[in-house]
Subunit: 231 residues, 2 copies
C-alpha cells in the first residue's frame, strides 16, 4: 500500500452525507473569485488558530492576523465566530470519517487494515491542526458535532465492526473486540498529532523528521497486526 499520495485539503469529497452547514451554498459559481479565495485563506487561518488555542481561546483578531486580513473582513465573510468555527469543523469532518471505505467484507484483512492505518497516519502528520481541532471538540463535549457522531459515525462503526466480526468468524484473523479496535486505531494514530507536544518533549525535534514518521507508522502497524494475529 503506497504511503506517497498526499491528501488534498481543498478537495474533501463533495456531496458527502456528513455536513454541519445548513444551507448548501457550496456552489462555487455563485461566488466571486476574490470571495472564494479569501474564504479559503480565512478557513485555513482559522483552522490553525482554533487548533492552537481552542474556540474560546481564539480571538477574531488572531485569525485576522493569521489570514493577513482586517478583522472586519472575517465578520463580513462568516458573520460570527460560531459560524466560522462550524465551517472549519465541517471541512475537516469529511476527511475524518471517510477513509474507512477500504474496509469491506471482500477485502483482505491485512491489506485493508494497513491501508486504513496508513491513511490515518498520513492525515495525522499532514494535517495535525485538523486532528487537534477535532480532538479539542471531542474533549469539550462535542456540542457542535455530537449530532453527527451519534448518527453517521455510530452507523459507520457498527457496519465496519460487523465486517471485522465476519473476518474473525471466517478465521481470517484472531478474535478481537472489533468496536474497541476502532477506538484503539484512532487513539494510536491521532496521538501523534494531538499529543505531539509530549512526544517532542521526549524525542526532541527529531520527532518531526520523515524517518520518525516512518518509525511511528511501523510501530502502530505492528501493534494492530499483532492485535489481529496478522503477522
Amino acid at each position: 500500500m503506497t504511503d506517497k499520495m498526499p491528501i488534498d485539503p481543498e478537495n474533501p469529497l463533495k456531496n458527502s452525507a456528513f455536513s454541519l452547514i445548513d444551507e448548501s451554498m457550496d456552489d462555487d459559481e455563485s461566488k466571486g473569485r476574490i470571495r472564494l479565495s479569501n474564504e479559503l485563506i480565512i478557513l485555513a487561518a482559522a483552522e490553525r488558530t482554533f487548533s492552537r488555542s481552542g474556540f474560546k481561546g481564539t480571538t477574531m483578531a488572531q485569525i485576522a492576523e493569521a489570514a493577513a486580513l482586517p478583522k472586519a473582513n472575517i465578520h463580513y465573510y462568516f458573520g460570527n465566530k460560531q459560524n466560522l468555527y462550524r465551517h472549519v469543523l465541517d471541512s475537516i469532518l469529511h476527511e475524518w470519517l471517510t477513509p474507512m471505505d477500504d474496509i469491506t467484507p471482500e477485502a483482505d484483512p491485512k491489506t485493508a487494515l494497513e491501508a486504513y492505518v496508513r491513511h490515518k497516519m498520513r492525515m495525522t502528520f499532514e494535517r495535525p491542526d485538523a486532528s487537534r481541532l477535532f480532538a479539542n471538540e471531542l474533549l469539550h463535549g462535542a456540542e457542535v458535532i455530537n449530532p453527527l457522531l451519534s448518527t453517521e459515525l455510530k452507523n459507520l462503526v457498527e457496519t465496519k465492526a460487523a465486517v471485522l466480526d465476519g473476518w474473525i468468524a471466517a478465521g481470517k484473523m484472531k478474535p478481537v473486540d472489533s468496536t474497541h479496535l476502532f477506538f484503539s486505531i484512532w487513539a494510536l494514530t491521532q496521538t501523534y498529532a494531538d499529543f505531539d507536544t509530549q512526544i517532542c518533549a521526549i524525542q526532541g525535534e527529531a520527532a518531526h523528521t520523515p524517518e520518525a514518521h516512518e518509525r511511528a507508522t511501523n510501530h502502530v502497524l505492528s501493534m494492530i497486526f499483532r492485535a489481529c494475529g496478522l503477522e
Copy 2:
C-alpha cells in the same frame, strides 16, 4: 493484579520531585482549617470546570458557582486564574507521572505491564476530568507543563524504555519499539476519558457501566500483551 483499590485524589504522593508551584507552602499546619477545606473545594471545582471548558473557556464565576462560594473568595485564596490553574495541574501531575514505578528490571514483564495498564485504566475511569485537563494542556502546547515534560518525563521514559529493552534482550518479550510502546499505552488508556464523548455516541450510556469498563480494560490489556508477545 487487583482492579479494586480506588485511587485517593487527596493523597498524591507528597514530596514528589514533580511540581509546578514555586513556594512549597504545602505545610498544612500553617493554614487554618477553613482555608484548607475551602482550597480543596475550590481545586476540585476548578478541575471539573477547567476540564469541561478549557482555560480560556472557564470563567471565575463558573468555578465559584461549582464551589458554592462567592467569586471574590477564589481570588482571595489563589490570587488569579493562572495561579489557580497551575495548582490544579500540579495536583494532577503527581498521579499522572508516577505509576510507572512497577516497571523495574527485576519485575516480570507481564505482571508489571498489567499492573501499569490497570493503574492507568483505573485513573481514566475514576478521574476522567483530570485526564481531560491534562490532555487539553498538551493539545494546546503545554505552555505550563512543558518544562516538566522535557526533563522529568523524558528521563522517566528513557529509564523505563531501557528496562523494556532489557527484557527484550533477555528474550522475556517480543521486540517492540519501547519508547513508542509508552506512547501507545497512554493513547489506548486515556482515550476512554479524553474522547469519552465519541465512545458514548457510539456505545450509548452503557459505556459508563462497570461491565463496559472491564470490557475496555480487557481489550487494552490484550492489545498490549499481543504487542509484546506475552499471551
